[in-house]
């Protein structure tokens, strides 16, 4: 019996230590920022203000490296403010930033996504609006691609400045397409035909790893837009419409149809995104539908796809209302300033540096689509990124990822619903459940 008591005690301690690990530790994160004693005073004094930046990503990611270079450049050129930056893996970052915000320990500057991600922070008064600063400096404001601030505008005020753009593209392997005499599909019927030919020849048609369900959800969002245009989703967003709109249900049916005709790798719902990209890289799969961030991962030095990789617009769907020139995507690599920031002027200066052509061109060279109109020397540009930019010239509309627009709760459920449909759930049933959930949870 004593042994058991001891055991239970150990269990209690273990549980306690786990719980303690979960609670935010006030003051810990802040110490880095408040180290400078003149913290609360404006940057008129002699002492430099320390500003802390929280960013998502892995420190060795090409984009993280560029951001780090920008931070160093800033520190060299400015004596009155010193920046420090910390990177956190993407999923953990979301939790981290929410926890910091809740504990009133928000960093001075932080990486953010558009629409639904930033919204709760803005509503809670944690984010500083850069509208006035943009208006004061028209040269800065005019650097940006038109319309890019839409996702960061709440009640007519702008809260963050993006540095790159992401759009979802249809990547394909030219060599495989040539080998089987295939043309890039322009309609859904043609796409189905391509899939059939590839399957007959033992090539995986579309490399799609849907274990994390946002991957398949992206594809379904494009399909839904091709069928019904942007209106059905905008109605869901503004709570004037429902998920039972025929365009969503038809998109669900098409997703199921694609899964049934083996358009995706075997067991794609158990496959991670990274190994699916490997399939495409190695030439086992002919197409890959992914955000433009994948350009870097597909065209690195020594990539087997160099010279073979090409990109196209996602095909139209017969009888659909949506324009082939609507692109799914979002402004990306965006930074916002928190209201807690000790020196907003210095922080704005960093945003300006990031959107300056000297940094923007680095982003472009690394294969990003940039958020500004900076002109890149064609010789240095990544050919695939250039092609995407060319295709985008006819862009009618940039519609934003559903899970970004709707925020975490409903967004995750949408992704789950699509995954369930590809696994065999009836689309109408899945969307009815999603609709109920949306009514309960959409803010």
């Amino acid at each position: 019996m004593k042994k058991i008591a001891l055991l239970l005690l150990c269990a209690c301690f273990f549980a306690a230590s786990v719980l303690a690990g979960c609670t935010p530790t006030p003051g810990f994160q802040g110490t880095g920022g408040t180290g400078g004693t003149g913290g609360s005073e404006p940057a008129t004094g002699k002492e430099a203000v320390n500003l802390k930046i929280e960013a998502w990503g892995i420190e060795t990611d090409p984009n993280s490296v560029i951001i780090k270079e920008a931070v160093e450049l800033y520190n060299q050129r400015n004596d009155n403010a010193k920046l420090t930056i910390e990177f956190t893996e993407q999923e953990q970052y979301k939790t981290k930033i929410a926890t910091l915000m809740a504990a009133n320990e928000a960093p001075d500057l932080f990486n953010t996504w558009a629409a639904g991600f930033l919204k709760p922070f803005v509503t809670a008064g944690k984010v500083y609006s850069i509208s006035e600063d943009l208006d004061k400096d028209p040269e800065w404001k005019n650097r940006f691609v038109p319309g890019i601030f839409a996702g960061f505008t709440y009640d007519g005020k702008i809260y963050a400045s993006p540095n790159t753009q992401t759009v979802v593209c249809l990547f394909y392997n030219k060599e495989i397409f040539d080998k089987y005499n295939l043309k890039v599909p322009e309609t859904y019927e043609e796409l189905k035909n391509v899939i059939k030919v590839l399957n007959d020849n033992g090539v995986i048609p579309i490399a799609l790893g849907n274990k994390a369900p946002w991957v398949g959800a992206m594809l379904s969002e494009i399909i839904a837009n091709r069928i019904g245009g942007s209106e059905p989703f905008n109605k869901v967003y503004s709570k004037t419409g429902t998920w039972l709109d025929p365009s969503f249900i038809r998109a669900g049916e098409i997703m199921y149809e694609l899964a049934q005709m083996n358009a995706f790798p075997e067991g794609f719902n158990a496959l991670d995104n990274d190994p699916s990209r490997e399939m495409f890289l190695e030439g086992k799969a002919a197409m890959h539908i992914m955000g433009s961030w994948a350009i870097q991962q597909l065209t690195y030095e020594g990539s087997p796809l160099i010279g073979k990789l090409d990109v196209a617009k996602f095909p139209a769907i017969e009888g659909g209302k949506g324009d082939i020139n609507n692109w799914l995507g979002q402004p990306d690599q965006s930074f916002a300033i928190s209201t807690r920031c000790k020196d907003k002027e210095a922080a704005v200066k960093f945003l300006k540096l990031m959107s300056d052509p000297e940094i923007q061109l680095k982003f472009a060279e690394a294969g990003n689509l940039i958020a500004t109109t900076a002109q890149l020397d064609p010789a240095k540009a990544n050919p695939v990124a250039t092609k995407v930019a060319e295709l985008q010239k006819d862009m009618k509309e940039l519609f934003i990822f559903y899970d970004v627009a709707l925020g975490a709760a409903v967004g995750n459920e949408y992704n789950n619903a699509i995954q369930a449909i590809t696994a065999g759930t009836d689309p109408e049933e899945a969307f009815t459940t999603l609709q109920e959930f949306t009514e309960q949870n959409l803010e």
């Binding site: 306690a16 719980l19 939790t95 709760p120 158990a270 309960q440 949870n441």
Partner: protein, 294 residues
Amino acid sequence: MESMLKNKKTILSFVLPGLIVYILIVIIPIFNTIYHSAFKWNILGSKNFIGLENFVNLFTRDKIFIKSMKNTFLLMISSLVVQTPLAILLAVALSGKIKFKRYYKTVFFMPNIIASVAIGLLWTFIYNPEFGIINRFLEAVGLKSLTRLWLADVKTVMPSIIVVICWQFIGYHMILYLAAVENIPKDLREAALIDGVNSVKMLWYITLPLIKYMIGIDVVLMATGSLRFFDLIYVMTNGGPNHASEVIASYMYYKSFRDYQYGYGSAVSVVLLALCLVIAYILQRLFRSEKLEY
């Protein structure tokens, strides 16, 4: 020494430091959670008091929560039904005179000393539909029709996880029963043998009644353990696909830290706490046994 330990102040001075820590990091957060469960709160904005609305929603409108409740009970019941008899049988077998006793003990207990995250990853590889050992084996022996997506299929995901959980914990329960079985005095067994009892009867009439107290303890441990089960599910499926393997604890995490519905997540954890208490109480009543005196 004896008199010192009888002094209440001395006792207090020994107990107090631990008690304070315990109250600060266990008791207070529990009440804090109960308090938060009455609010609609996303950690950031203002808290809106909504009384019992979170609980009403949980039980009347939230299909995912109902699903996670069902899964939790499925997990608990299958743990009890599968692990208890197997652990007892293993313990009885190992208490007899067999070769390599220590070796078997170590082997059965091994999964228990491996970190859950490592176990989760290990079995994720085993279940991998493409290169996992199970599907490869089935293909190799010509049973390709039996291959499944295991962790990615709504129908197979819960059984797949339950297998891993049983594999992980059975050694632990076996050790508990082994201790109890080896505590039974030899003369009782010898007397029974002289009376011509076979091994089945020995198990049923001698061993089981004498380890009943341990079954009582173990069942409570097992039940509460599986009610708040979290780690393997988080590592292996994260509650997916489409919440098919969601249990109450993982749903609590999902709501609080993925959806930022902190008040709602608190309500989920209050339900979990209540369930643990109620079930532990019921099981303890069921297995109440008189003190054994040999």
